[in-house]
Symmetry: C2
Subunit: 722 residues, 2 copies
């Protein structure tokens, strides 16, 4: 019984072949490969239009230095050894730093009024092109360089070059759920990037490449530690290490933040209490924050998870979230820092639908938070499910800024194994109309401050990067790091455009390659939903490790079971969150409630999120709910099978190494999709007691097989001990 | 207070400069870089002597295929695009597979009588050179290819080329203390290499490079899991993954082994007992082993740590180590596997010097073990201290094969931070005369089977490789992986020769580079001993994490304290292991006892290991012991300072990236050496009450400072939880 031998042997020879290749496309360079342009006419055009880089030496600070360095790196890679025009020129810098640029901008009457606004344009006059990369700040110039290089990497023409953009959101921050032990919670990308033990003595070269990748998509902040926090990071031994990272990232415009464990005054300070109103505690935090700013003068601030899933918090002392947040905010304010206080709180002791608790808690506190204390809210009210309707909190706190927290790491979408491009998922949230101030009050507009004139606007993304050579495990998963940055910068960008950019930069510009990969990517989120938690189903994953199905799970704390969420019974399935149920729906604005109250009217993608409906409920397609459920699961499985074929067709058109890895993962994803389908349908059938539609492949095994299946050592699961 | 800013900023710009470099010398390619030869006369000679590779296509199995592939890789790298002679030819293969080779060997009357014996020679006739790479097996041919490429990498001449070698020891095995959670015990090299979750679907290309590195130094086995074992690896879900790794390594001649948790029948099998004499338990293991062999037909066997430091074992059932080992050996014997049963057992309940316990236990069992059950013994009787006298067990079990277990990972020698080349340490053990069968019964000869005609001779090395890009953290630490393999193959090789080979292959052949690095490397082990545990001191490191000093530690179980080992008091210091003390010395053979009984006669490097001597004891140098101790610590510190200067001088002569990393680590090593000196001397002075010699730099701080210092999150420490 050695079914693997042949498979492994072919994998081996593929690997051998890969190893023989001279060029290493191992994913390390992400979307910043700068491979020499092969298309002759494009290369020729670039060579004649892109001349010598002219960077004034006056006031060349670290940011302008890295900007020049990146430009040099990009151009020498893309243009290779081709001869560049000696008539054309490329000016880079700010007006205040480069007089030639000042002159050009003055003539154009161009003024900048937004932070980090870049401007890149080309001016052609009789075979001499002047390209200018400038902006409202040195940081903007760096962003302009990346925008220009993106333009070239995606083979856009110099003629008519005009890129002007400023970020719509102020803080565009990665959240690394990294532990000081170098394990990463809920990640499958190897060890934490932060080689703490060798800091501050040794700066890994890849810290620089991390900073470049972030800066290239406008990410300007990074929280280095897990929200399930460890107070040791606030010890000087670690602040010193944090400072070394901060110094490394600073030229790239990236500020560092830390998670603050609320009980640090006790654990680290030896105090008896962590009461946010206790003067001794307040002083401790003030002193601690001041200490941090001595090491890191532009420290961003704290991210806090408190009174949630066992994390310590102000409630132990009879205080509320605003009390806790404000104490930290007051400590940070004199230094220009912010506190991001997570709204992800729920407690089964509170006898209310989990879905409702954060809204109840934080709307009650609206108006209580300091200006530099913002509330960080997940995109939906449960927990990063493959699909969630937008969080009812968005738009419901007129006086409190909320950060949008997205999860880049695929905790619930197949880890580093399943291909899933998440921009469409995030676009769905951003496009959603909260109706907070009438029609058009989209989540995007709430978050970017337009609806309520909020300050400290913030996008946060739980990072999927680790010390794996290709950073993200699955090669396609890097697209989500890219997409997060692009959307945080400009939430109006389409999923299609972002995918198109990323594919061209990461692979190549061949239309067959771009189209094939884009089609798979753009379909992938829905496909993952289809084979795992379709039609509004949610939280039916396996207990603990979250990888794979567990809709039968019913042990322990109810709001950590699966049955609590799908509520399948003989009558039907789904969670009644309308007036006849928990009325979590009622927390949304009236226009939204009106749209979703009726199971016949609601967008079917959210049906079972808000309604308990009969197995015979007629869907838009005319099928019964039960049939639709089965057909949807099957469609998800079939989609992955199609991708395997389509991906196969790319063999030889992209590099063998990354092709092989995705191919191997697709086989696993297909097997996992079948497992999801079979496990869930055999389980739900015990309630529906209806036959499977003829067109689906019935489960291969009986329900007990799926219930008994145990998956060992899923990476990133917090219970993973030594 | 930002003392780091300047340091970090310069580190940053160094990193930036590194990033700008086209060629990546990040250490990934280890000693198999195959960089094109720059020295023209050598290149010319090679080009005229190395012709077309002639490999007969008949019977080209995977091993010959990888041999040919490696040869191709090596030659195209080393010889570049230079034109190779079309008159010369290079034949590769075995006699049975390549008739041309058969003919040549027959003419020479060359026969092979040893396993894996390779033969590489050149035969020049009128400007036409025939080079032959052959051997007693396909595996030998692969080893011959690596030997040939080593020859070229170290710029040796083709004229007179004659390399013939067979391994002196049968099993040359790495032990990876890797957990299934991908953490590695006692390692600082990132995450475990084994990406379990993506196995068996995905074979990481670096698995191949791992196999190449191992095969290049003749390593032919690898234990994939931690000796603090996890029975889950024996579950089919994991055996399937193990099989994929085995399939990947097989062509390189590397067999896989696993650690077997003795209680697996209970944890995995649901049995009530793990009694090795219980028929139900015996059957469970027999079935389990048979199952493993269905997946991995050449599975090597088990490595077991039992009844040691909390690991389960046969003693729970009133059985002994031989009972336990034999049960597993009987299960493995029909399939050709072995069990390696670790002698690292000690118990404070047993009121005997820890040093004596393994000897007592295992000499009592001599003769009881099956032929395929061998005892695996650390080089010394305590636990991989920077210096230990050889284990008294060596030579004391005439009827039982012992494996020599060395530690490549620097658990007690500074982790991935301190530069320490360990071949001299290992040579010291190998050269040591046990006197088991009179003079000349060296440890090497005991281990290689010469003294007692033992079978299944084995070298085991606790691996220092992890998923860090350069595998071993500190660039120089890779030399120990290399040295382990070279010594396991041929324990007569000198530390100097091994270092010379490694430096030339890893860096370059410039004599200034080779000499400088070799001098540092060859001195390094003694230097680490000098600044941490000199003159026979041992086990005085910090509690728990083992990084840094803790000679004052006296809490909890005595044989886990420091005071138990140094026994400093007002009279003197050292552990009396002679007749007047615990008489651990008495366990050695009489000739050894005679040499070491007298503190005046004993090799001073072991003085305090066996003797408690007065602070005024006169050393060979004429100094008192106290003074010698101080001067030795200071010498260690001074040596590291010298290396910093010497290493600086290599700037520009080797690649910037690796130069920078070693430079940064040397600064840390120097600071750590000072800390060791200051902590230990200020502590020991409380006993000696004597002044420091004038020529040393006294401790910068008082003893309390060192006692209070706490190092957080040392990687690899088993208590490191989430």
């Amino acid at each position: 019984m050695k079914p693997l031998s042949l498979k492994a042997l072919s994998a081996l020879f593929i690997s051998l072949a890969i190893n023989s290749l001279v060029s290493a496309e191992d994913g390390y360079r992400l979307w910043l490969r700068y491979e020499s342009i092969q298309k002759q006419e494009i290369l020729d055009s670039y060579l004649s239009n892109i001349g010598t880089v002219d960077i004034a030496q006056k006031d060349l600070n670290p940011t302008l230095r890295v900007a020049a360095d990146e430009l040099q790196k990009g151009l020498s890679g893309l243009l290779g050894s081709g001869e560049r025009s000696n008539k054309s020129r490329l000016l880079i810098g700010t007006a205040s730093q480069n007089p030639k640029i000042a002159k050009i901008l003055e003539k154009q009457n161009t003024n900048f009024d937004q932070k980090d606004e870049y401007l890149v344009f080309a001016d052609s006059k009789s075979k001499q092109t002047t390209i200018v990369i400038t902006g409202s700040s040195d940081q903007a110039v760096l962003y302009g360089v990346f925008a220009f290089l993106r333009h070239l990497q995606t083979h856009q023409p110099i003629e008519g070059l005009s890129l002007r953009s400023a970020p719509r959101v102020e803080n565009r921050i990665l959240n690394h759920w990294d532990n000081l032990t170098r394990t990463i919670e809920r990640s499958m990308s190897g060890a934490s990037l932060w080689n703490w033990f060798d800091l501050p003595y040794y700066i890994e070269p890849y810290y620089i490449d991390y900073a470049r990748a972030c800066a290239s998509v406008g990410i300007n902040g990074t929280v280095l530690t897990n929200v399930n926090a460890n107070s040791t990071v606030l010890h000087p031994q670690f602040i010193e290490k944090v400072a070394a990272l901060a110094d490394t990232f600073r030229p790239y415009g990236i500020r560092v933040y830390l998670t603050a464990r609320f009980s640090a005054p006790i654990e680290l300070g030896g105090l008896d209490s962590a009461d946010p109103l206790d003067p001794v505690v307040i002083k401790w935090w003030n002193d601690k924050v001041a200490e941090i700013y001595e090491y890191v003068p532009d420290f961003g601030g704290f991210l806090v998870k408190a009174n949630s899933e066992g994390q310590p918090g102000p409630q132990k002392y009879g205080r509320d979230h605003a009390d806790g947040a404000n104490m930290l905010a007051d400590a940070l304010a004199p230094h220009g820092g912010i506190v991001m206080w997570r709204a992800f709180v729920y407690d089964f002791e509170i006898k209310e639908d989990r879905h409702k608790q954060a809204y109840t808690e934080f709307t009650n506190l609206d108006g209580r938070f300091r200006e530099n204390a913002i509330v960080q809210t997940k995109n939906g009210a449960i927990d990063f499910m493959p699909r969630e309707p937008y969080h009812p909190l968005f738009g419901a706190t007129p006086e409190t800024t909320q950060a949008l927290e997205l999860q880049i790491t695929q905790e619930y979408l197949g880890g580093d194994v399943h291909l899933a491009y998440l921009a469409p998922m995030w676009r769905e949230v951003l496009n959603a109309d909260t109706f907070a101030q009438g029609k058009g009050s989209t989540v995007a507009k709430v978050i970017d401050g337009s609806v309520f004139s909020h300050k400290n606007t913030t996008f946060a993304g739980v990072s999927n990067a680790g010390n794996e050579r290709n950073w993200t495990g699955h090669p396609i998963a890097a697209s989500n790091w890219y997409a997060f940055g692009r959307l945080a910068w400009d939430h109006t960008l389409s999923s299609e455009q972002i995918a198109d950019e990323w594919i061209r930069m990461t692979f190549n510009n061949q239309s067959e390659v771009v189209d094939t990969i884009a089609n798979i990517m753009l379909a992938s989120h829905q496909t993952v939903v289809d084979y795992s938690m379709p039609l509004g189903l949610h939280h039916i994953m396996a207990e603990g490790h979250h990888y794979g199905p567990g809709p039968w799970f019913d042990q322990g704390r109810p709001d950590w079971t699966s049955v609590y969420y799908h509520r399948a019974d003989e009558a039907g399935i789904g969670f009644d969150r309308t007036e006849s149920g928990t009325n979590a729906l009622g927390q949304y604005f009236p226009e939204r409630v009106a749209k979703w109250s009726d199971p016949e009217q609601i967008d079917e993608r959210y049906l079972l999120w808000f309604h308990h409906v009969s197995w015979d409920f007629e869907m838009d397609s005319g099928e019964t709910l039960w049939n639709e459920l089965c057909l949807t699961y099957q469609r998800g499985v079939n989609d992955v099978a199609k991708w395997i074929q389509e991906w196969d067709g790319l063999s030889g058109k992209i590099d063998a190494q990354r092709h092989a890895r995705v191919a191997a993962m697709l086989i696993r994803q297909h097997a996992d999709a079948i497992f999801w389908k079979d496990a869930c349908l055999s389980y739900f059938q015990t309630f529906s007691k209806r036959p499977y539609p003829k067109s689906i492949t019935p489960p291969e095994n009986d329900l007990e097989h799926y219930k008994n299946f145990k998956l060992y050592h899923v990476p990133g699961h917090p219970a993973e001990q030594w």
